[in-house]
Symmetry: C2
Subunit: 265 residues, 2 copies
């Protein structure tokens, strides 16, 4: 652990139990108001193409930071962040298969690892809740419902495949307000990509999400779809990279950034 | 006619054939880029309540200007505007019944007349078209489709009744973009009030609008609804005012304002 030379940030305080291995569960609600990020670590040989994939698909892959090869630190995201220890639970994938779920990467670290941290919907969900828009999966204590679509991403090198979306049901008036609110958060998926007609993007049955949990949809509600951070994971796994490391679902990197700082306009 | 003391504005030039009675038809496309307004003239006895109604229902009744009682001039809206002559065609209503459709009000003018000019959808439609969003009624050369809803307005004095909405069909992606674009135009109805589910606001059949023309809706489109300037007319007529003057449908007041000047954000 590095010695801090300045006062500890709120994010730093939240990360210490994680670093010590005392908190290995999900980070939802852990540090209210702070930006949390999705993690993708790839060998340098794949990093340039993955970076290009993110550039071409910013709504699915909103990049918050990219490390130097081999460098486990992410100083732009927060005080003293060490990506080898500061995420509660990691998933290690070899040839696209999950082989290990450690709570620390120090023993696995390689000099050619490049770390990508991508924005996550927690940030815009805070803004929606603060705008008075109820979120069903939060009310029901479930994971958000996610679906593979028939909407292709823009490919880059080996990275290609369909967009994955998350779905939140709401009244049409709330859907309009949600477009306004989330348009201000381009770094964390931004405005919805679709609404009202799941059939048009290849979703046959909202009750059967591909990831996460189904949620109830009221008779006066429509489904509203956002590009989802599962997209880059799904696309990366399909290439069966020799080695790849992600966070475990829901176990995100807590940064020092404030969700409110991401708002534009 | 007043003598101009400064160079003639584009709006002034557009209004001269109207003032002279040479142009008595609709104003669509007449002065591209300039704000056009809906007209409502009421006796002073009803003006305070109507002003309050507009304040309480800003999405249906976006006020651009209100005159002093008896004053036919609207200097904030444009150079030398005389509301008695500068609209191509007027409708005179007595006790809520259309009695006369003159092209000039000079002979009818009363010292207690108060003029209300309200924003109109032409302004945000220019922004939608410039944003690359096609408008079906424009493509089909029809009037926009308008519907009475079951959404009540906030009443003020005798003024009460349901909101009237205009409907534009578009793809879900264009609907999301349209929310973003029109949110910047609060003075001309602003963001949509509803989308995707006409049944939820009391519209049984989109093919049978209450005003305007039906338009085709594609299989990949959803209906998007905006609060409509017909609302205040509809509400005012229902009170059967002893005397009331409006513009004839489509025959608007051309102002000196630029549509682009209305954009916020």
């Amino acid at each position: 652990m590095s010695a801090l030379t300045t006062a500890p940030s709120l994010g730093w305080q939240a990360r210490q139990p994680i670093r010590r291995g005392e908190h290995q569960g999900h980070t939802s609600g852990l540090a209210p108001g702070l930006v949390q990020g999705n993690l993708m670590i790839l060998p340098q040989a794949l990093a340039a193409d993955f970076l290009l994939f993110c550039q071409r698909n910013p709504k699915s892959c909103p990049l918050l930071a990219v490390s130097e090869p081999g460098d486990p630190f992410l100083p732009t995201l927060g005080q003293d962040i060490d990506i080898r220890s500061d995420v509660p639970s990691y998933r290690v994938w070899r040839d696209g298969m999950l082989v290990h779920q450690p709570s620390d990467l120090t023993a696995l670290w390689q000099d050619d690892f490049v770390t990508f941290v991508l924005g996550c919907s927690f940030s815009f969900e805070q803004a929606l809740i603060e705008a008075g828009i109820p979120l069903r999966h939060v009310q029901q204590g479930r994971n958000v419902a996610m679906y593979r679509t028939n909407v292709p991403t823009q490919s880059a090198g080996p990275f290609a495949g369909p967009m994955v979306v998350s779905m939140r049901p709401m009244t049409p008036a709330d859907a309009i307000r949600a477009v306004q609110v989330t348009s201000r958060f381009a770094q964390v998926h931004g405005a919805p990509v679709h609404l009202g007609r799941p059939d048009l993007i290849g979703i046959a049955d909202l009750a059967q999400p591909d990831f996460g949990d189904p949620v109830d949809i009221g008779p006066d509600e429509i489904p509203v779809f956002w590009a989802c951070g599962v997209t880059p994971q799904s696309v990366a796994m399909a290439t069966r990279p020799p080695l790849c490391i992600t966070h475990s679902p829901g176990c995100m990197l807590v940064t020092d950034w404030l969700n409110h700082q991401l708002a534009t306009g």
